[in-house]
Symmetry: C2
Subunit: 216 residues, 2 copies
Amino acid sequence: MALIRSVFQDELDGVSQTLLDLANMVSDSMGKATDSILNIDLKLAEEVIKTDEQIDTVQHDLDARIIDIIARQQPVASDLRALVTALRMSADLERMGDLAHHVAKIARLRHPEAAVPAETVEIIRGMGKVAQEMATKTGQVISSRDTNLAREVEKDDDQMDDLHRKLISTIISMKWDKGVESAIDLTLLGRYFERYSDHAVSVSRRVYFLVTGTFE
Amino acid sequence: MALIRSVFQDELDGVSQTLLDLANMVSDSMGKATDSILNIDLKLAEEVIKTDEQIDTVQHDLDARIIDIIARQQPVASDLRALVTALRMSADLERMGDLAHHVAKIARLRHPEAAVPAETVEIIRGMGKVAQEMATKTGQVISSRDTNLAREVEKDDDQMDDLHRKLISTIISMKWDKGVESAIDLTLLGRYFERYSDHAVSVSRRVYFLVTGTFE
C-alpha cells in the first residue's frame, strides 16, 4: 500500500511539473507575442503561432495522462479533486497559450504596419509585462502551493484592469480620422491580455482552494 | 452488478439532462441579452445578469455531482471519459452564460442610449439569432447524441463567422466623428457572439468524439 501510494504521489508530482512547464511556456509565449507586436517582428510572431501547437500537444498529452491516472488509481476525496483541478488548470493554461497566439496573429496580420499606435505603446508594453509575470508567478504557485503568492496573482490582476481601463480611455481620446481599424485591433488586444490574466487568476485560485479548502 | 450498472446509467442520464438544461438556459439568456441590447431594455438586461448566477449555481452543483459519481462508481474507459467530457461541456456552457451576461452588461452600461448603431442592428440581430439557435441545437446534440446534428452546429458557426466579418467591415466603413466608444462596444459584442458559438461547437464536437471516437 505504501508503495502504491508512493507511485501515485510520483504521478501527481509529474502532473504538477507539466502544469508548471505549461505555465512557463505560455508566459514565454505572451512575452514574445507582445515583443512581436511592439517591434513589428514577423519572425517572432510566427514563432509564437508555431509554439501554440506545441502547447496544445503538451496539454493534450497531460489530460490523457490525468485521465489514465484516475482510471488506474481510482482516487477518492482530495486526491480525485486534485486531479480534476489539474484538468481545469491545464484547460486554463492552454487557453492562455491561445490568447498569446491571438496577439501574435494581430502582429502578423498588420505586418509590415504597426498594429499598435505610438499613443498606446507603453500601455500595451505594460499589459504584456504584467501578463507574462502573472503567468510565471502562477507557475510558481502550482509548484510551491504558496497561498500568499496565489493572492499576489489576484492583486496583479488589478494592475491589469487599471491598464485595460487606461487603454480604453486612450482609444476613446484619440483621433481616428484615418479609420478605426487600429481601434478595433487595440480593443481586441486589450481583451486578450485581460482574459489571459483572468485565466492566470483562475489557476492560482484553484491552487488556493486545493490547499485551504475555501475561496476567500 | 446489473443493478449497480443501472444506477450508474441513471446517474449518467441525470448528468446529460442537466447539461441539456444548461444549454437551454444559456440559449434563452443569449436570446434575451440580444433583445435587451437591441430594444434598449434595461429590465431584460438585468434579468440576464441575474440568471447568470443561477447558471453558475447549476453548473457548480453539476460538477460536484459528476466528481461524486467518479468517486463512488470508479468508472474506467469509456464511462470515465464520458464523465470527464461532461465536466468539460459544463465548463463550456457556463462560459456561454458568461458571454450572454457580457452582452447584457453592455446594454446596461449604455442605457438609456443604444449600444448598437442603426447600421449594425441587423447584423447583431443575426448574430444573436445564430448564437441562440446553436445553443439550442447543442442541447439537442447532448440529449440525442445525433452526430449529423453535431456537424450542423459546425456549419452554423460558418454563418457566425460570416456575420462577424460583416460586422467588422461595417465598423470600419462607418464614420466615427462623434467618437469611437460605440465602435469599441461593437468590437466586443462581435467577440462575445463569436466566442459563444465557438463554445457551442466545442460541446458538439465533444459529443461527436464520444460517439464516434474520432474527430473529423
